[in-house]
């Protein structure tokens, strides 16, 4: 049986890493108690051009988590027996499986869609409305699919990293994805008490992972962002291309490193390459800094960041239209 809150699963660093990601997707308040950064001295990167704003929202989420979500979650874990917690987690996972099946089909994964349909039907019937995860017991493993992944498969660009108030880490592609996923989840229509239990369940399951971030991260904002973005990429490619991509990027560094170690000389050509690469990044940073460094009041900064975000949404919307046209042509 799939038990989220088992302490044993934290016995290895890797299973804990996995949980972080799971929790970031589940938890509404993926924040952290310790915020290390000073938002005023942030350097902007290409994947996170709104870091200044994102860090503020991350801090806000962390405060909400510390003063509201975490205490309530602790109380829930204290008063609720383990088997009830497991049943609740299974129940909401089962409802999510409907969305998984829809996205299987939208991504053209028909066989996986059939397996996930079988999984949902089995858990809904033999598993008493999803309270018991019978399907996992018989070898039908749970797949992770959502509409943001479907958009990625259709060619929509990821867009910049965003931290949403209360909802936590996302990207501009993740926003329409999240809206669709919410609409496709029956729990949305059952009523507020059920939604509150769903949020409580999500936060409770994320507890161990947030603790892991607190223990391991030197900068919890960066740790959360990088692990979120990397794991989302892994999910989009179904775990097939991440190693190659990762290696290609990192091997440049190994090469640089070897040059320095072996020759003790700076290869001019290599350095030129690095300079060009850095000049490009610097230019992007300059453009971003140009937007913010001259601003004095924070409201203006926020407006400009949101203007950029709106542009990203426009890009996403355009890509979405393109994807729609492609599907029409397929028909």
């Amino acid at each position: 049986m799939f038990i989220y809150s088992q302490k044993k699963r934290f016995s290895t660093v890797f299973s804990a890493s996995l949980l972080i990601i799971v929790s970031l997707l589940l938890s509404g308040c993926a924040g952290n108690k310790a915020i290390d950064g000073d938002p005023s001295s942030v350097e902007l990167s290409e994947s996170d051009p709104y870091e200044r704003m994102n860090r503020k929202i991350f801090q806000f989420n962390a405060s909400v988590d510390e003063y509201i979500a975490h205490p309530i979650s602790e109380a829930y874990l204290y008063i609720t027996p383990q088997f009830v917690q497991t049943g609740i987690a299974n129940f909401f996972n089962n409802l999510k499986d409907i969305n998984v099946v829809i996205n299987d089909v939208l991504q053209g994964k028909l066989q996986q869609g059939a397996e996930d349909s079988g999984r949902f039907l089995l858990n809904t019937t033999a598993g008493f409305a999803g309270l018991i995860d019978v399907a996992s017991e018989v070898g039908l493993e749970r797949h992770e699919e959502d509409f943001a992944q479907t958009l990625a498969v259709w060619g929509t660009p990821k867009g910049p990293y965003l931290v949403l108030p209360i909802l936590g880490p996302s990207t501009s592609r993740g926003i329409p994805g999240g809206i669709f996923d919410t609409a496709a989840n029956p729990a949305t229509y059952i009523g507020i008490p059920i939604q509150l239990v769903q949020m409580l369940n999500a936060r409770a399951n994320a507890g161990g992972a947030l603790k892991f971030i607190d223990e391991a991260a030197l900068d919890s904002y960066v740790f959360t962002r990088e692990s979120f973005l990397q794991h989302r990429k892994y999910l989009v490619t179904d775990g097939n291309s991440e190693v190659t991509d990762d290696v290609m990027a990192l091997e440049d560094d190994f090469y640089d490193d070897d040059e320095l170690l072996d020759d003790e000389l700076l290869d001019e050509e290599l350095l030129d390459g690095v300079d060009i690469k850095e000049a490009k990044v610097d230019k992007v940073m300059e453009q971003q800094l140009e937007l913010t460094s001259t601003d004095v009041d924070s409201f203006k900064k926020a407006s400009e960041s949101f203007d950029g975000a709106v542009k990203s949404f426009d890009d996403t919307s355009w890509s979405f239209e393109q994807a729609g046209e492609k599907i029409e042509k397929m028909d």
Partner: protein, 200 residues
Amino acid sequence: MFFSAINNSVAIAGSKQTREATEKSTAKQIVGDFQLKLLDVMKEGTVLGFQGRYSQLEPAIVKSHDLTKIVRIVVGKEWNILSDKQKSTLNDVFSRLSISAYAFNFKEYSGESFEYQSEDKTARGGIIVHTLLKLPKNKDVKLDYMLKKKGESWRIINIIANGVSDLALKRSEYTSILKRKGFEALIAKINEKIDNYTKQ
């Protein structure tokens, strides 16, 4: 003459294959031995305590990982502007943090195991060893070890868990702190983490 050329080609190809096979088995062996050691320490974890686990894991990690190279990649371009003393300090605290993190997280055993899957060569002569961490009651975790040759042996320089690269994650964190807060703040933060691991 013709047959001799063929024989030479076959011999060269054969020796290349043998060499590749040796390289692969060595990389696989490095990962396999390290994973076995982890399991041993986990099984004795409670009895050993943190310091015991640290002492047992230290030689295994030093033998299997290229910590010097890892730390250089993690701090990126900033490495070149550090003084020799700073480099030495960073190497020292980074090693202690890495071993402490293993000793802290691999503290008990509940039926986990590792399974070797396959190997790939990378474009620049590295090897990726694909393994699975099998958890008794949860989905397997995909663990890919990236190794680079050091002298005559192989050394782990990155671990990718379900698509999350440890090296890339650390690099983002370290470079971010170095640029925003400076070297001393980075060392203080690492020491704070080591202390927390040791106390718990």
